[in-house]
């Protein structure tokens, strides 16, 4: 319903326009206006799997032939299957908690596959799909959720920063990293480096995120802010965080903002490539709002039946990011049944492997509590460690362990 959208009054609009306040209904309509594919929403693939041309963005996915498309499909199926397996493992008591990405596969695979080797990604905690796209072994993520580890992959090698749980913190960290890329002269041409930073719609309320916008803007940092607007921050809808569609906020900080269909992997790939390209050439930062939906609970400890209606979920199921690629591939003859069956079998094997790994994950020894608190020694801690270990030994020698 783009006609209902409330746009911000301009100074030239006269006193009446400036004085007009939007009603709560107008605010909500404005925030959601482009969810149905309004003019402001960049979309290359409809929910029915039809390709929509885009004069601005088609060139960013020129190279995506049937094979590449099958690759994107496969990525999303594998990631979803892993997500469902982890969710099930949490239910079986094998993981302490799980943060589902169901419904956000296109946003994550599209943006993740747009990154180049030397780029850096700063995730929050739901970016399992981006991790996969960066080449992080998904097994290495599971330690966090089995509570054996706080993180656990090769950050430099993969270009994928540790997960960040405190909402918004990573946005400033990403700004600093991108400033570093700029200070080292790594931007300016096609081979330039860029950074991408992920956060949710709720996160946009945090001071850290605003400060990140300011820093990146005034230092021209090559940073793509990638907001996955999945409509909810636990129980709070986007209208609890903003009056304006989130992508429009970028303007106030002096850089471009764009809203992309977050359930359209092709559009997410194209828009992310464009934004990263801007950054590589020194024209960053850019804000991308990927308009998507969290199809499962916030985490396995959440109960969405308390705050959202099942209608909403049903509506979004029709926009499933995987189904539309499948329909597109099938329609154009880019893949046959065998292919889809084979991807499914591969996904099942992928999940089984994760399961087996999780069940056999070794528990960390008690001395791990004390390791790596400091890069350099700390005698107080060293003494504490010795004392605790000998205390534990006491149980063993007393036959109590």
């Amino acid at each position: 319903m783009p006609s209902e959208q409330w746009t911000h009054p301009e100074p030239g609009d006269g006193p009446a326009a400036v004085a007009a306040q939007p009603s709560p209904e107008q605010v909500i309509a404005g925030l959601r206006a482009t969810s149905e594919g309004g003019a402001e929403l960049t979309q290359l693939l409809t929910p029915e799997g039809e390709r929509v041309p885009s004069p601005q963005f088609d060139k960013y996915v020129d190279d995506v032939d049937d094979e590449a498309l099958r690759g994107l499909y496969r990525d999303m199926v594998l990631v979803r299957r892993a997500d469902r397996e982890a969710n099930a493992m949490q239910r079986q008591g094998q993981l302490g908690i799980w943060v589902p990405l169901l419904g956000q596969e296109a946003a994550q695979i599209g943006s993740g596959r747009a990154l180049k080797k030397n780029d850096m990604a700063f995730p929050s905690y739901r970016e399992h799909g981006v991790a996969y796209a960066r080449g992080v072994d998904m097994k290495d993520l599971l330690g966090i959720f089995r509570c054996t580890d706080h993180s656990g992959w090769d950050y430099q090698g993969t270009g994928f920063h540790p997960y960040t749980i405190v909402i918004g913190n990573q946005v400033l960290n990403a700004a600093g990293y991108a400033m570093g890329q700029k200070f080292e002269g790594k931007v300016g041409d096609d081979d330039g480096e860029a950074t991408i930073c992920y956060f949710g719609d709720g996160a946009t309320s945090q001071g850290d995120v605003h400060e990140g916008f300011v820093w990146a803007a005034v230092y021209d940092a090559p940073l793509v802010f990638f907001c996955q607007n999945n409509q909810w921050a636990i129980s709070e809808p986007t209208e609890r965080q903003s009056r304006l569609p989130l992508y429009q906020r970028a303007r106030g900080y002096g850089f471009p903002g764009i809203r992309v269909d977050g359930n359209d992997v092709l559009a997410c790939l194209a828009v992310s490539r464009w934004a990263l390209d801007e950054c590589r050439h020194g024209n960053g930062p850019v804000l991308i709002e990927a308009f998507t939906y969290r199809m499962d609970a916030h985490t396995t400890t959440d109960d969405p039946s308390r705050y959202r209606l099942s209608d909403e979920l049903e509506e979004w199921k029709l926009k499933d990011p995987i189904e539309r690629v499948r329909a597109f591939l099938a329609r154009k003859g880019g893949a046959d049944h065998d292919f889809f069956d084979q991807v499914q079998a591969e996904a099942d094997a992928f999940a089984a492997d994760l399961r087996e790994y999780t069940f056999n994950m070794p528990e960390p020894p008690p001395e791990r509590i004390f390791s790596n608190v400091y890069a350099e020694g700390n005698p107080v801690l060293e003494a504490q460690r010795e004392e605790f270990l000998s205390y534990l030994d006491g149980f063993v020698s007393a036959g109590e362990h």
Binding site: I144, S205, Q206, V380
Partner: protein, 330 residues
């Protein structure tokens, strides 16, 4: 008139909040997910339904915002009760707490009062990921101008939250999250009765061999240790501090003069903490009564470890008993 109800800590807090809101229309509840969801721990369950969205505010996701606006609302005459979802997320609001909330009364020579309560679920033992199991209370006890409270049982939950809301001073109210819904800690409360003074510590079990002082979730550990010690013929006195700033150490001094031994127990790291403060003050006041140095049983001076290791990190009954033995062996 008496009105006896059997309540868990969580239910007692919920009822205490409800009473405070009924009594004073200026009391507001604000925080992330406190409305429809009733908070992630359901402590504010049902309150928005009954008091409306202007008294129970689902705020934007920003702790500095929650606390900073609570300061402004207090200036305007409201009595905000802020919920911080988990203790690890209080730090975006630390600046507002330490710079404004704690100091406005002093800076204005008492002209501005700050009747703000910040409820903070804290402590470990729930098998959570990072930032969900910490014990940062010493950091707040170190800030002049704040009062810091930590409850350990349902009676104090029910009365303490109401007294905190009535207080004209800003109060950090630390709640032992792993005990919220513990059936074992359900207590019979006369919800129409009269409360005892909250800003005081309390002997919760009498004993003669040694004293254990604790607060929040550790009080239960201390009581369990005391029960186990009894089987070994040792009699532990347990004191619940209840208020962490200001500290009411009178009953602790008195107890140490009787037992001659003190174990200070807490989940927080030990260096520069509340247990350090207790040890210093007790040796100053009770030097000639002490039969052994004050011993501390605490978390380690490390970040909170991955939860698979928390059984080692968190002080348990055995570590308390071990400290008692060390004290006795002196």
């Amino acid at each position: 008139m008496t009105d006896l109800q059997k309540l868990t800590i969580g239910k007692a807090l919920n009822l205490g909040l409800r009473r405070a809101m009924e009594e004073d229309p200026k009391v507001l509840i604000m925080g992330e997910d406190v409305g429809k969801l009733g908070g992630v721990f359901r402590i504010t369950d049902g309150l928005q339904k009954d008091f409306g969205e202007q008294r129970v505010l689902d705020t934007p996701l920003a702790e500095s915002g929650i606390i900073g606006t609570a300061v402004g609302l207090a200036v305007r005459g409201f009595r905000p009760v802020c919920e911080i979802q988990f203790e690890g997320f209080i730090f975006p609001g630390f600046d507002q707490i330490s710079s404004q909330l704690a100091k406005l009364h002093y800076r204005t020579q008492g002209k501005i009062k700050m009747p703000v309560v910040i409820r903070v679920p804290f402590g470990g033992g729930i098998g959570a990921v990072e930032h969900h199991s910490e014990s940062p209370e010493s950091l707040f006890a170190h800030i002049p101008g704040l009062k810091v409270v930590s409850i350990s049982n349902a009676v104090d939950a029910y009365w303490g939250i109401q007294q905190a809301i009535k207080s004209d001073d800003p109060i950090l109210f630390f709640e032992p999250k792993r005990l919220y819904h513990s059936g074992a800690l359900r207590a019979e409360i006369d919800v129409a009765g009269t409360p005892q003074q909250m800003f005081s510590s309390q002997v919760v079990r009498e004993g003669t061999t040694a004293t254990v002082v604790a607060y929040g979730p550790s009080v239960k550990v201390a009581l369990d240790a005391a029960a186990a010690a009894e089987d070994e013929g040792k009699s532990l006195e347990v004191i619940d501090l209840r208020t962490l700033s200001p500290l009411d150490l009178g009953p602790v001094f008195e107890s140490v003069r009787k037992t001659g031994r003190l174990i200070a127990l807490s989940e927080a790291p030990s260096e520069s903490s509340l247990t350090s403060e207790i040890a210093a003050r007790v040796q100053q006041e009770c030097f000639y009564s002490l039969e052994a140095p004050v011993l501390r049983v605490t978390g380690f001076d490390t970040p909170y470890p991955p939860a698979k290791l928390e059984e080692h990190y968190l002080p348990d009954l055995d570590r308390v008993l071990h400290a008692v033995d060390r004290s006795l062996a002196w």
